[in-house]
Assembly symmetry: C2
Homo-oligomer: 451 residues x 2
């Protein structure tokens, strides 16, 4: 086979040991926080029935779902094959597809297992998802999502705990300048009502979501194109100034006082903010311009970003009142957030925040001098490992220099040299790769040193 064939599909990635160590650090840190809050893990299969996924992500989303070709003679029962277009053929030759996110599978899981689940169901899920998107910098076709949700509880304490989870995670990562913005879809509804555009909530939301990227002029244009009157847009501007003035909750409360939705949203946000203040969550702040793109949010929405980075949001979520309705189980409220682990990776990398200790699995490399000392080496290694010390054997007999280079390249902090002399004396050469110092020690002394 020609070497040119050896590649992986675009937008897909291999992860080297170094990358895996960093990725695992991210997952484990977040997972530990989830577990500290008593959340439990589930997994769903990579494939769902196509009918479960179709229609849940909009028309564009449907196009980006990876479909699995049916097995066997999948053309057997298809008539007039030559007349079909791809769109018509797809549902005839594919009945399964790859997971597009973790939210729809969660809804499907809850509905399927509603009799076994104890509600409130506090679950987390960390699995890859697949999207047939155009690959570009920072955008992959296979990437992990890391979701935490509470299903079947209306309590705002869930929102508070999710904000705590976000805040604690970023603290554990030692990310400075993280910000947690919150808003409420009912405040946005109140805004729409107050400017006389109650029927344009979705348009207002979609446009607001782009505001940061497109700027005030294009934002106004977008609103106008979406059917908001000039009068409404001017009113909106008087409530949310387009300069950098911060609009505080008191101001919004006053301006939306005639909207019932607005009042409800403000009451909820106030309660959440009060709890956050009592708990010392200093990074949480209200932002009336926060909109979040997704259509299914109905209550509080939240988003995390890092103020001295242009990477955008690194986590986000909110409350959705009817996620399971589409699968025949209405009136189950949920609230959740999703961590953007790929972006968190970039932040930690660019700010040098990955711990040094991640570098190598092995704490030491045991060198190899060939047949004569093999038995001695294996027995010494057995003692090291029994003491819980991760120890790597250089499998082949090779020049010592080559073996040292191997340890160095892998970032292994210690090397043990045990040739025939060391075997005889029982004193091994124990070298510290960081400062180059070396000592002659028995294996028991080495274990004591490393424990």
């Amino acid at each position: 086979m020609a070497k040119a064939d050896i590649n992986i599909p675009g937008g897909m990635r291999d992860f080297s040991p170094e990358e895996m160590a960093k990725r695992n650090y991210i997952f484990q840190t977040i997972e530990n926080v989830f577990r500290r809050y008593g959340f439990e893990q589930i997994e769903t299969p990579s494939m769902e029935n196509l009918s479960v996924l179709t229609g849940k992500y909009g028309e564009e989303g449907d196009r980006l779902i990876y479909k699995i070709l049916n097995s066997g003679d999948y053309l057997k029962d298809i008539e007039h094959l030559g007349d079909l277009e791809a769109k018509q053929l797809t549902p005839k030759i594919s009945d399964k597809a790859l997971r597009f996110d973790l939210t729809v599978p969660l809804a499907r899981y809850v509905v399927m297992n509603r009799n076994e689940i104890s509600f409130p169901f506090k679950r987390y899920q960390i699995q890859p998802v697949w999207r047939a998107d155009r690959p570009q910098k920072g955008r992959f076709r296979e990437f992990y999502q890391c979701d935490v949700d509470v299903i079947g509880s209306n309590s705002l304490l869930n929102e508070v705990e999710l904000l705590q989870i976000l805040s604690e995670s970023f603290e554990e990562f030692k990310i400075q300048n993280s910000k947690l913005k919150i808003n409420h879809r009912k405040i946005l509804m109140g805004l729409a009502e107050t400017i006389g555009a109650a029927d344009k909530l979705t348009d207002l939301t979609v446009a607001l979501d782009k505001l940061d990227k497109i700027g005030a002029d294009k934002f106004h244009e977008e609103l106008y194109k979406r059917g908001l009157s000039e009068e409404a847009i001017i009113k909106l501007d008087s409530i949310i100034p387009m300069d950098d003035t911060e609009v505080d909750l008191a101001t919004i409360t006053e301006k939306l006082k005639d909207s019932e939705s607005g009042n409800q949203g403000i009451t909820e946000i106030s309660g959440i903010l009060q709890h956050c203040q009592n708990l010392g969550l200093s990074t949480v702040e209200f932002d009336v311009k926060l909109a979040r793109g997704l259509d299914y949010y109905t209550g509080c929405i939240m988003e995390a970003s890092v103020s001295d980075s242009d990477i955008g949001s690194i986590a986000g979520g909110g409350r959705y009142d009817d996620l399971t309705g589409v699968f025949g189980l209405p009136e189950v409220s949920g609230v959740g957030v999703s961590f953007g682990v790929e972006r968190i990776y970039e932040i930690l990398e660019s700010k040098g925040l990955f711990p040094d200790s991640l570098q190598a699995t092995a704490k030491l490399l045991f060198t190899n001098f060939g047949d004569e000392t093999e038995g001695f080496v294996l027995e010494s290694l057995q003692k090291l490992r029994a003491a819980g010390i991760n120890s790597l054997l250089y499998s082949d007999s090779a020049k010592l220099q080559k073996q040292f280079k191997y340890a160095d390249k892998k970032g292994i902090p210690y090397v043990i040299v045990a040739g025939p002399e060391e075997k005889e004396s029982g004193k091994l050469t124990f070298k510290n790769m960081n400062d180059g110092s070396q000592e002659n020690l028995t294996i028991e002394e080495i274990i004591k040193k490393l424990e």
Copy 2:
């Protein structure tokens, strides 16, 4: 949407929190052993180019590979669509496929990254694979593989370390009666040569691999069908008696003394067994009847099973001398084993070997009495979690009985009751769910008790 739609594809599985806790226990236990031996983790993408996978698993294997339908208007450039059969159409509408095992992706990874990798490359990989097989009890279409391999080293110390890894893993699982059988493909070659069937090594291997299942008569029949002469079969019987007599290495050494391959294999196996004996690996034994199905093994082969279980092999592997040759990088030797995590799960489940501590993520449930105590509850929880105690809040205000039932169902060992009285006194009711006892303690006293 009708409820009837809500299902997952056949052969696929959801994993509940209880199942996830057990699965994670298996993965973590094995992974800890891998890491103790200094192995490093990699991951490869779920999708490979179809050309990388096709032809590597035999004709039957090719059929079982899940193909991904190309995105967009995938029929655009296809002429005479109406005349095509599925077999001809597939390569035109699918250029990617799902990972079928972890071995071929490893070979592809090694070839692609050969300039960055420090050899010997000791890596492990734990990821799902997909096979469009007929689902049945214990056979799934999506399942995890858990592989550990050494690439680029001819040393038999690798075989010894892999046997140690197998043995230690089963010890950590507390699986009694595990057995590790080893044999050598060159001994099987010696056998074939000695009975005058040197050209029938593969046939002998395939038949031997089935011997346990099909019995002596059908084994002989199979050999005959595959072209071995009656004389060869009689000779074979004289070397490997079909009754339960164990054939020890000394006997085989004597019988194969005229075969060079046989002698090589015996020398290697003897060296490995000697090391195992010195290291106290009492479960490792030579078995000339061990064959392993896969074609690519060329050296030592090994297999683990549990003698008081009929579940079959729970791990297996061996040495392969030319895995990367097919991708243009010849003469790179590898050796590895794969753990059958699904079968290990069944063993641990049926023997009651999962630790009790796996049951719940949360160590305690904090009950909820509604608005008045919310702030107090959140602050108390903050202290518990800061002390590293996984604590679950019952999100809603509900009848106490319902909240206790929730804790009970989840197997949470402690419940804290903190209503208005407890808030006032600062003494919380701390209930042990196992023995029903309860005490009145401050939050600090509870933390001290649980730490």
